[in-house]
């Protein structure tokens, strides 16, 4: 008789009944709580913002729980439809954007505004995993090309919105699925070698002056301290002045004095670093690392190709989120609009994030056990 992990004898409790992975849930709750604490400070002690964020978190956890109930087989069945729907929505947004003359990421569905690119954050790794799982691993060359096309097309559409941050996340989600699928390392090396002349050509012919300026500003933010370099300069000052122990909760001068832009959204980590210092920052990094490693553990325990690739892709996407955001805020990477998962103020990305954690938990708790 085939049992599922959640039905394993001797293991009872709410977490199993709800198909939840308790260590992961605890880590996520801790991170979310930490996020609320910082948000209170970053929002200038505005309780209403914290309340709104808390409501979003609750909603997101409900989404998580809901997705945890969906069996991996169901997810697998839905994947092509979800992906197609996502593509259609992206095109719709672009079309509306052309009509509305300007950047458009939202689709106004009357009661709620909805960002199709968020759907793609989950749909792309699902679709690439679905496609690659059709044949035995590792994929051969044609499969790889199609796989690349599967994430490159939506990424291009999103980059046109323009939302470089999300496009980047989608590209990394798709490529990490490819990597988990056993993409030969030499392909990666070749890609890197090809990337260098491409970058040079792009720099010379493919970029507008202002885009070049953005790259230059990234290399040397001080060259434009009041313009594009301002964000990075101010956030590094905030973090650096925090020191080992930080300035204390609500005592961050950089953030409270309005020096730090976007301090409750993309740059919230600077507030955290300033107020809680290296101690707090390392604690947060440890929590993130724990979440990632736990997810990788779940990935390693997954039983079929689709769920393996999907959970691996989702996990590394989460890592990319964390790395790009903190790297950007600490001046290690250029400024791209990527929120800090679970901490940054904002709803849309949190829902997708929790949905993917829900899928991971579903994958973990719906494993088949062979009863002897």
């Amino acid at each position: 008789m085939i049992l599922e992990e959640s039905q394993r004898p001797g293991r009872r409790g709410l977490s199993l009944a709800l198909h939840l992975d308790m260590p992961l849930v605890i880590a996520l709750v801790l991170l979310s709580a930490l996020g609320l604490v910082i948000l209170y400070s970053a929002a200038g002690e505005d309780m209403s913002m914290v309340t709104r964020q808390a409501l979003r978190l609750v909603l997101s956890f409900i989404v998580l729980v809901a997705f945890a109930q969906i069996r991996p087989e169901t997810l697998h069945r839905w994947t092509p439809h979800l992906y197609t729907l996502g593509l259609i929505l992206l095109l719709a947004v672009l079309a509306l954007g052309v009509i509305g003359k300007g950047a458009q990421r939202w689709l106004d569905l009357g009661i709620l505004r909805f960002q199709p690119s968020e759907v793609m954050k989950v749909a792309v790794p699902m679709m690439v995993a679905w496609y690659l799982a059709e044949t035995p691993l590792p994929p051969h060359f044609r499969r790889i090309l199609v796989g690349i096309a599967l994430f490159a097309v939506p990424a291009l559409l999103i980059a046109k919105q323009p939302d470089l941050g999300t496009a980047l996340l989608i590209i990394s989600a798709g490529s990490f699925v490819l990597l988990f699928a056993g993409l030969p390392w030499r392909y990666l090396i070749v890609a890197f070698i090809l990337a260098i002349p491409t970058a040079v050509l792009l720099w010379k012919f493919g970029m507008h002056g202002y885009q070049r300026q953005r790259v230059l500003t990234f290399i040397n933010p001080e060259s434009d301290p009041l313009g594009a370099g301002y964000h990075i300069i101010q956030s590094t000052i905030a973090i650096g002045s925090g020191g080992i122990y930080g300035k204390g909760w609500l005592n961050g001068t950089q953030s409270h004095l309005d020096f730090l832009p976007e301090r409750h959204t993309d740059f919230i980590f600077a507030v955290f670093g300033e107020e809680f210092g290296l101690f707090g920052a390392l604690l947060m990094l440890a929590l993130y690392l724990f979440v990632i490693l736990r997810c990788l553990y779940i990935t390693s325990r997954a039983q079929d190709t689709f769920t393996r690739l999907l959970s691996g892709g989702l996990t590394i996407t989460f890592l990319v989120y964390v790395f790009v955001n903190i790297g950007m805020v600490s001046g290690l990477l250029p400024v791209v609009g990527v929120p800090l998962p679970l901490i940054s103020y904002g709803g849309s990305s949190m829902v997708t994030l929790m949905a993917s954690f829900g899928m991971l938990m579903s994958i973990h708790t719906h494993r088949k056990l062979l009863k002897m």
Binding site: E134, P136, G242, G243, T315
Partner: protein
């Protein structure tokens, strides 16, 4: 769980996948470690650096300008004050449509193109929430017009600021001076931190000379600002120390009489209390309204003031240098007596001209027929040039120059005003150095009657006259009588400053010269006899007529034939009461003609006003 074709090797797939997961785990740990290292770099290794940056970011030190000290005359009449003026200021961030707002304002009040231009310039570099002044010194009506329409003009504010104001306008404008906006040159020399909040600085006169006293010490407030520079709260405040008030020696009434006495004529007058050097009146005519300079003079007015032939901005009393003419005669007479070259009884023959041996050039006296045989006393009374040609020849330029320099000719008096000229007392060395020429005997002669190279400021003349009146005691002329602490109200009177006195060889020589000067006014043949009627006290004086225009040997000076600008300057020096001098006056009337007829009456009016009570008799304290 094989699905479709080709067949899967489950074991191999799992092995491959597990390896990839391990790589992913290593990759994840590596990235997180990289972030941790970056944070260590920022928060530990470079913590100090960022702490400094953060502090600079947050705390802004803002200057609080001190209130400028006031200036009063000796009786407490206010000469320079700070009055609140209304200015129209605009906060750009609150203005929905700047062009519309500006055109609305221009419909309501007069805004010049100059104002618009400076506003547009300020708009470029000021921050969006800072007030930018559009118009200064709004009239009450203009304030009312704006106030009524305020509801239509968001972001437009009427602000009250302290502005320097000179209630007496042109009266003694040269002495009080004025403040103006700090210019680039001044910025380089002044104490930048003390002037951090100050827009105006003394430009001329007492306002400039006493800038340090008047300005005060700047105060500071430490404020917390946000990145846009908006003040969030004040952390610490060091109040400014207001500037000290000044009381001048000048009496506004006396000054007013003196200025009125000039009428439409240009010239200068300096009146000094010989006993202590206090400057009682300081006139330079024509004058100007200093108020136009305070908030930036417009180009048109400024050009009018600077290019005018009447040179209203030029301080003739202190900066102007003129040939002293015959006013130097008493001094040379004294030099002759004290040096022993002449005695009171030494007589010279005056045919109306003088010739040097071996030279046919006639050095003319002012009186065509000459004075005949004449002694020193009469030579001073009647201002005989020929006598002084003879005397100059006896003294020689070296002794003349040395003696006159003792009286301060050729040197600044050290008055507490800026822009003082040194005048010129020629000497052999001076001529060799500046003209690379030897000294010629003829030059000695004309120097003896105050012509040639000799130049003196009216201030120097007044100071030398005071010295003559006080038997060689010299005092530094001072404009400011007292400096007042504005908080305690305590006045500090700096003691009069004595200058090195002139050694007296024989006091009788000085008395003799003074008597001759009394005769200038009192005697019927005195050149200033015209002012002697109804004189309630004795005046010792000397007239002078300074040549501006050299006439040729055989020509006769006819004032009517010469353009006014080239006519002689009229001069008069004198002190009174002669027996107990309380006031020494030097008057210069530019292109005025005769010293006795034009300059002396002005001096008398000033002396009368200063010395006489309402009953027409000498005031008790002047006796």
């Amino acid at each position: 769980m094989a699905r479709g074709l080709p067949l899967r090797d489950s074991q191999w797939e799992s092995y491959l996948f597990r390896r990839r997961v391990i790589v992913a785990a290593i990759f994840s740990v590596a990235l997180i470690l990289l972030l941790g290292m970056r944070l260590f770099d920022l928060q530990v290794l470079n913590h100090q650096h960022y702490t400094t940056l953060s502090r600079n970011n947050r705390v802004d030190i803002q200057p609080i300008p001190p209130t400028r000290g006031l200036i009063f005359d000796r009786n407490g009449v206010i000469l320079a004050e700070n009055i609140p003026t209304f200015s129209l200021e605009i906060v750009p961030e609150r203005v929905p449509d700047m062009n519309r707002t500006l055109s609305e304002i221009r419909k309501l009040i007069n805004v010049s193109d100059d104002d618009m231009e400076s506003f547009r310039n300020a708009l470029k570099y000021k921050r969006r929430f800072e007030e930018i002044p559009l118009r200064f010194r709004l009239s009450d009506e203009e304030v009312a017009r704006i106030a009524v329409n305020r509801y239509r003009l968001p972001g437009v504010e009427i602000k009250s600021r302290l502005s320097r104001y000179y209630p007496l306008g042109p009266l003694m404008a040269h002495t009080v001076g004025y403040v103006g906006r700090i210019d680039v040159q001044e910025l380089q020399t002044l104490d930048a931190s003390n002037y951090a909040g100050t827009n105006h600085i003394g430009k001329i006169g007492v306002e400039k000379a006493y800038e340090d006293e008047l300005h005060g010490r700047v105060g500071y407030q430490q404020v917390e600002t946000n990145a846009r520079g908006r003040v969030l709260r004040v952390l610490q405040r060091t109040p400014p120390v207001p500037g000290r008030n000044l009381y001048l020696n000048i009496d506004v009434n006396l000054q007013h009489v003196a200025e009125q006495a000039f009428g439409n004529q240009y010239g200068a007058l300096v009146a000094i209390d010989p006993t202590n050097g206090a400057v009682l009146a300081l006139v330079s005519m024509p004058s100007f309204d200093p108020n136009v300079f305070v908030n930036g003079v417009d180009t048109k007015t400024y050009n009018e003031l600077t290019t005018s032939k009447s040179q209203p901005l030029f301080n003739r009393a202190v900066t102007g240098q003129y040939p002293p003419g015959s006013t130097v005669k008493p001094f040379y007479g004294l030099a002759g007596l004290e040096s022993g070259e002449i005695t009171p009884n030494t007589e010279f023959y005056c045919p109306g001209y003088f010739t040097l041996k071996g030279d046919s050039h006639k050095y003319r006296g002012w009186k065509a027929g000459g004075h005949g045989i004449i002694d020193l006393s009469h030579a001073i009374t009647e201002s005989c040039d020929v006598y002084f040609y003879n005397l100059a020849l006896k003294l020689g330029i070296d002794r003349m120059s040395a003696f006159m320099q003792q009286f301060g000719f050729g040197h600044r008096t050290g008055i507490d005003l800026t822009g003082e000229s040194s005048g010129l007392m020629p000497s052999r060395t001076w001529k060799r150095r500046s003209k690379h020429q030897p000294w010629f005997p003829g030059e000695t002669l004309i120097t003896g009657i105050g012509q040639g190279f000799t130049l003196a400021t009216p201030l120097q003349l007044a100071s030398a006259t005071a010295t003559l009146a006080e038997f060689g005691k010299r005092m530094r002329p001072t404009v400011v009588e007292a400096v007042q602490d504005p908080i305690t109200g305590k006045k500090n009177y700096p003691p009069p400053q004595a200058l090195p006195p002139i050694p007296v060889v024989n006091i009788a020589d000085w008395q003799r010269i003074q008597r001759a000067m009394i005769s200038v006014v009192a005697a019927y043949n005195g050149t200033a006899h015209s002012i002697s009627h109804d004189l309630a006290y004795q005046v010792a004086g000397k007239t002078g007529t300074a040549q501006v225009f050299g006439i040729k040997q055989d020509e006769v000076y006819v004032p009517q034939d010469i353009p006014k600008r080239l006519r002689d300057h009229a001069l008069f020096i004198g002190f009174a009461p002669a027996d107990k001098p309380r006031i020494a006056v030097a008057v210069l009337v530019q292109n005025g003609g005769g010293g006795g007829s034009v300059a002396a009456p002005i001096a008398r009016k000033v002396m009368d006003t200063y010395l006489l009570g309402p009953d027409g008799q000498l005031k008790k304290d002047m006796q």
